[in-house]
């Protein structure tokens, strides 16, 4: 089985990069391939990069409230383009209430301040496996 291929990016003008960099390197150390999209992404750019790079999972690091407004747009873009790549979100600012809202929106996994590295790795591994089975079908 090939290694998981993960896109890591940040939305809008959120300039906090510590989490994204730390997670990207952690995933690399765990043997995954990381496509680092860095800062200043709009939803359309994330979708485009994810398709171009043929990733298994899209991971967004969020440290400003901008994500609350960008994620609905991103999810509907994925749906419109029939892209079956699961989206996961992580960041210390995510509250329990936010998490519930995100899950409802169809975000595959949410990692708040108490997430563990192994937990993140396990989720991504599981989602990548599922995703390959689901490729070219609508993600549900």
């Amino acid at each position: 089985m090939k290694n998981s291929r993960v896109l890591i990016g940040i939305l809008g003008l959120d300039q906090h990069e510590v989490g994204a960099v730390a997670v990207a390197r952690m995933l690399r150390d765990a043997g995954m391939e990381v496509v680092y999209a860095g800062r200043f992404n709009l939803p359309a750019m994330i979708v485009q990069t994810a398709l171009q790079e043929d990733v298994d999972v899209i991971g967004l690091s969020v440290h400003s409230w901008e994500y609350l407004y960008y994620l609905p747009e991103l999810m509907s873009l994925l749906e419109k383009k029939q892209v079956a790549i699961p989206l996961i979100v992580g960041g210390s600012i995510i509250t329990r209430a936010d998490e519930a809202g995100l899950k409802k929106m169809g975000i595959a996994a949410v990692f708040g301040p108490s997430a563990t590295p192994q937990g993140i790795i396990d989720w991504i591994t599981a989602l990548s496996g599922e995703n390959r089975g689901l490729r070219n079908k609508k993600y549900g």
Binding site: L13, V18, M26, S64, E66, Y69, I93, R96, S114
Partner: protein, 534 residues
């Protein structure tokens, strides 16, 4: 037993004795506060009657809302103003930029034109209160200068500061998407301008806070800070500016983490290093050039999202260490820092933390109360030598502009981010409530009603700025922007005057920054979404 080490990995003994400080020479290494090499403090009357400048970083929503916030803080005893811009402002983008849409006014105040600064400072006595900011320095300077003049306050009386971050801003935090040479030139031009027109204003605050938040230790923090200071000072000397005309207006905004004694020793070592460098290497003669002003923002990175009440304790401990080290101004990172820019409640907690330490504990009554401690003096010496060693090491790698272009600094910060993440994950750096003494999320409710409270971006401001731009005389705006562009094309011209003129005539920050980028063959809009107006 595990080996004892400081957070910067300096080995520690179980206790220290006179043997450890036997070679310490009081007059040359310590001396009284206010005397060279200023290890013990920059002034003999460090805190005077009123104490250090007690302030909190503030700014949210539009300028009117932030003006109310500032007035409230002043009414509660705040002694200086420190304004932070929202993320579009920090990135030199106007609120009507596509990428700014969901970020207007949420992480700070939205400021893009002179009208905004007029509203921000309305009714605030600019001749008597110091005004500092975390904003793009050239525009913070222009806003303050122009509003003061309009209000009849001579710029010569203005106190306060701007942060100059030409080296590291692109790499960890406040990317403005400008080339190194332009960033550097804007800093130097501002310093020259202030030396002539705003002699009481700190035109160069070396901000070691923001980049050390990537997880640097204190040695790395101060070494990178000194590398930047030294480069700017050398460039000013190359321009033929007298060192004593600008050196007294250099200040350092440091971080303060949780390693109590190490933070104190860092500040003492920094004062000594700065004094020696200024006198021996740069030939400064004015004592004010040698005694550096140090201010502090306590570490946001040291705070946790879990059990936010613990952050209040952290802020108090950090504030105590800063007062014992002797600094000129303090801002306490708010207890809700992990979630948002400070709420009204956490502002008050930060301010009250400072007031309790100042007014109730008596710790500020004696200057440098830890001076002479076998341990503190040993640690101060050790940090001094490690910081200086690292400065030499970085400078030996060649021109810092080249290092910046090559991405050397960026890698340095990224390695630190990764190292910090690992330290936390592996439990080598303990954070109570986060990786030790945790409680289940559902029980972690205390203060969460404040930390989790959100507010929406100022969407109406986007339309307001659009209308503002439409309401201007387009031809005239083009002309003033062209003047900035022309000046930026001439490396010897100062950029401050043309920026002041354009800002005064109604051009916005995004436009002025864009035409300066163009002059350096960078795209007008770093995100490729806007057409240049000239």
């Amino acid at each position: 037993m595990t080996e004892r080490r400081t957070q910067a990995q300096i080995p520690l003994k179980e206790f220290y004795t006179p043997e450890d400080t036997i070679t310490l020479d009081y007059e040359t290494q310590l001396n009284s506060p206010g005397r060279y090499p200023f290890t013990r403090g920059r002034q003999a009357d460090l805190y005077g009657a009123s104490g250090w400048i007690q302030r909190e970083l503030s700014g949210e929503g539009d300028p009117v809302r932030s003006n109310e916030q500032i007035k409230y803080l002043i009414s509660q005893g705040q002694m200086g103003i420190d304004v932070i811009g929202d993320s579009p402002s920090m990135a030199m983008l106007d609120p009507d930029h596509t990428l700014a849409a969901n970020a207007v006014g949420t992480q700070g105040v939205s400021l893009c034109c002179l009208d905004d600064y007029r509203e921000l400072y309305k009714g605030i006595p600019l001749d008597s209160i110091s005004v500092s900011s975390s904003l793009p320095p050239i525009f913070a300077l222009a806003g303050l200068y122009l509003v003061a003049k309009e209000g009849g306050v001579s710029p010569r009386r203005l106190r306060g500061s701007v942060l100059q971050t030409p080296f590291y801003a692109e790499d960890c935090g406040y990317a403005m998407q400008m080339p190194f040479n332009l960033r550097l030139r804007l800093s130097l031009d501002s310093m020259e301008f202030c030396a002539r027109k705003m002699p009481k204003f700190h035109s160069f605050v070396e901000d070691t806070y923001f980049f050390s938040e990537s997880g640097l230790n204190v040695v790395e923090e101060m070494a990178l800070g000194f590398v930047e200071i030294r480069h700017l000072v050398r460039e000013m000397i190359k321009r033929g500016v007298d060192i004593d005309s600008f050196a007294p207006r250099i200040a350092i905004l440091v971080n303060c983490g949780m390693d109590f004694f190490e933070e104190i020793a860092k500040i003492r070592a920094t004062r000594r290093l700065f004094a020696r460098m200024m006198e021996e290497e740069f030939g400064a003669k004015d004592p004010r050039s040698l005694a550096v002003v140090i201010t502090c923002h306590t570490s946001g990175l040291s705070l946790t999202a879990q059990q936010p009440f613990n952050n209040i304790v952290r802020g108090a401990v950090q504030t105590l260490s800063l007062v014992l080290a002797g600094v000129q101004a303090i801002e306490v990172s708010a207890f809700d820092e992990a979630y948002r820019t400070p709420s009204k409640e956490s502002h008050l907690v930060g301010l009250r933390t400072q007031q309790v330490i100042h007014l109730e504990t008596g710790v500020a009554k004696v200057i440098d109360p830890l001076g002479g401690s076998y341990f503190i003096e040993t640690l101060t010496n050790e940090l001094e030598s490690r910081i200086w060693g690292m400065v030499q090491d970085i400078e030996a790698r060649g021109d810092p502009a080249e290092l910046s272009y090559e991405g050397w600094f960026r890698r340095f910060f990224q390695d630190a981010m990764e190292r910090y993440g690992k330290q936390i994950n592996e439990g080598r750096l303990l954070k109570v409530g986060a990786n030790v003494h945790q409680i289940p999320d559902e029980e972690d409710t205390m203060l969460k009603e404040f930390t989790e409270k959100k507010f929406e971006p100022c969407w109406d401001r986007i339309e307001k700025i659009r209308l503002y731009k439409k309401g201007r005389n387009e031809k005239k705006n083009k002309e003033v922007l062209q003047k900035v562009h022309q000046a930026a094309k001439q490396p010897k011209a100062s950029l401050v005057e043309p920026v002041l003129a354009a800002f005064g005539d109604g051009a916005t920050m995004g436009e002025i920054a864009g035409v300066m980028r163009l002059a350096y063959d960078y795209p007008y809009d770093p995100h490729g979404l806007l057409e240049p107006p000239i």
